[in-house]
């Protein structure tokens, strides 16, 4: 709380702070699903009157969508996190393979102030915001996820990128001893153009549903780029590298004809093997139409003015 009050007092209207009770309720609901009898035995009042969110105060963001949020259970049990297993249920079962503490993120390459941020420092760089974003997977399904994080731009500014820097590469944690071998060229890497990385929508996420980011969702810190297919948002990031040349990413190496550098959500450009025109929102029965830039066209279309998005897929 004090950090936020020092920085941007106007932003922190009491009404905007998500009451911890809301999250407490959610957690209680999840616990209840596991054991109705136990939860039922707890006095309701007692369950509410507990500690605030483990991440501290969280500010709501005008960039959030008002669509109904995907269930916590679905977000945390249906994951593409190949380091922890290639089946969608695997990551939640293999959380012991990744230790999120201690953790540090190096910022290196074409920056004037290369440095390493501990995870605790990242949590204090800026007021934590709740960003409720749509997430569209390249496989044709989508979710609405209440992330908690800070704009990536904040971090980049502190590192002071050099004039020649044009791209930002994100390198994920990889432990050869315990994690998946083969399938992709490890460690996982992803990249954005510098202007994409600096875009206000681009988030460095540290939490989910007001809680510390679960391992299977990319703990302790991951990228979230809501207008691109999910795989562009690297998980469990250990290094952020600014470069002049466009990095070759893990999926580009794995399938250059199927996964391009940009990978913007685009209903008109199909994956070579399946259509991207529609998607199934997890929890819904019928499919819905996929929106250009995943519905963020108003905010991001200008980044791609004059570009042939069919060629730059």
């Amino acid at each position: 709380m004090p950090i936020m009050l020092l920085r941007r007092p106007d932003d922190i209207l009491p009404s905007e702070i998500t009451p911890p009770g809301v999250y407490e309720d959610r957690r209680r609901f999840i616990a209840m699903a596991g054991s109705i009898a136990l939860a039922g035995a707890l006095p309701a009042g007692k369950a509410r009157a507990t500690t605030p969110s483990p991440l501290g105060p969280i500010v709501k963001s005008p960039l959030s969508t008002v669509e109904s949020q995907t269930a916590y259970k679905a977000i945390t049990t249906y994951n593409n996190f190949y380091e922890l297993g290639t089946d969608k249920g695997d990551p939640a079962l293999n959380t012991h393979k990744l230790k999120p503490t201690p953790w540090a993120v190096r910022i290196e390459g074409l920056v004037n102030k290369p440095r390493t941020f501990g995870i605790d420092e990242i949590l204090k760089l800026a007021p934590l915001e709740e960003r409720i974003y749509r997430m569209r997977c390249v496989e044709g399904w989508s979710m609405v996820i209440p992330w908690v994080g800070i704009p990536l731009a904040t971090l980049l500014k502190l590192a002071d990128p050099q004039g020649s820097a044009r791209f930002v590469e994100f390198i994920s944690h990889y432990d050869k001893a315990t994690m998946t071998r083969g399938v992709l060229d490890w460690p996982y890497n992803e990249a954005l153009r510098l202007d994409e990385a600096r875009h206000p929508l681009t988030l460095l996420a540290v939490g989910l549903y007001g809680e510390v980011l679960p391992i299977q969702n990319g703990a302790p810190v991951r990228l979230v780029v809501p207008w691109k297919y999910g795989f562009k948002s690297g998980k469990s990031i250990v290094a952020i590298r600014l470069t002049e040349k466009q990095p070759v990413t893990a999926w580009m190496k794995a399938g250059p004809s199927e996964y391009g550098f940009y990978s913007n959500v685009n209903p008109d450009v199909d994956h070579p093997r399946w259509s991207q025109a529609t998607e199934r929102r997890i929890g819904e029965f019928s499919k819905r139409k996929t929106l250009m830039f995943n519905g963020y066209a108003d905010q991001v279309a200008s980044l791609y003015t004059g570009m042939d998005l069919r060629r730059n897929f």
Partner: protein
């Protein structure tokens, strides 16, 4: 070891229930909402994999019979083949109904445009005449030799099934690879047997010393 009429009936009944188990578990999973965050995908994926598994199990009957001498297991093959078709039909149904929700235009586009869907669809279409001619009546009507020739369509069908699965997965091809290796082994074994038989015949002294099944029609239904 040849079971009597009653034991064979009991074995068939038990096998029937066993073959229904995956369907039952899927149904219960749907009802209890335990198929994960994307139950429609789980259902489509599972029925598809069971189709491929049943095709492979069906193809295992003949090698198993030759290796063990249990000729009676041939009597179980029809049921296994029909279950492959049933799971295949369920697979297509989940796609048409739950995945595309009877959007025939989108389905037609998919079949024409997506090679992996084209191949899966072709495989299922090829299975239909096999399922339709699985009755004793059809075997008699077609004549054993023609019936057998028709039912060799299972060889390309199983390979199409493997390719369909292989092209569908995003990156981790472990399971498509496993199924394909099994399919190739089962088909390779047949090719090898055939070659051995051909050589034997070419070598001249082709004297059937024991009951020969090669090239003969074996009655697979009880009279």
């Amino acid at each position: 070891m040849t079971p009597g009429k009653t034991s064979l009936a009991a074995i068939k009944a038990a096998l029937f229930l066993l073959c229904l188990t995956p369907a039952f578990l899927l149904w219960r999973g749907l009802e209890m909402d335990s198929l994960g965050a994307n139950p429609i995908e789980a259902l489509t994926r599972s029925t598809g994999e069971w189709t491929l598994r049943f095709l492979l199990i069906t193809l295992m009957v003949t090698p198993l019979r030759k290796l063990t001498g249990w000729h009676w297991i041939l009597r179980l093959r029809r049921m296994l083949g029909l279950f492959a078709f049933a799971y295949g039909t369920a697979h297509l149904t989940t796609y048409v109904w739950l995945d595309q929700f009877f959007d025939w235009e989108a389905i037609a586009r998919d079949i024409l445009k997506r090679p992996f869907i084209t191949i899966g669809f072709v495989a299922l279409v090829l299975m239909a005449p096999l399922a339709a001619t699985s009755s004793n009546f059809a075997i008699r009507r077609l004549g054993g030799r023609r019936w057998q020739a028709l039912h060799r369509a299972i060889y390309p069908i199983v390979l199409l099934g493997c390719v369909h699965f292989w092209w569908l997965v995003k990156k981790d091809i472990t399971w498509p690879l496993i199924y394909t290796v099994i399919a190739i082994a089962l088909l390779g074994l047949r090719a090898w047997w055939r070659e051995q038989e051909r050589r034997k015949q070419l070598a001249g002294g082709y004297l059937p010393q024991q009951p020969q099944y090669q090239g003969k029609v074996i009655k697979i239904f009880a009279r």
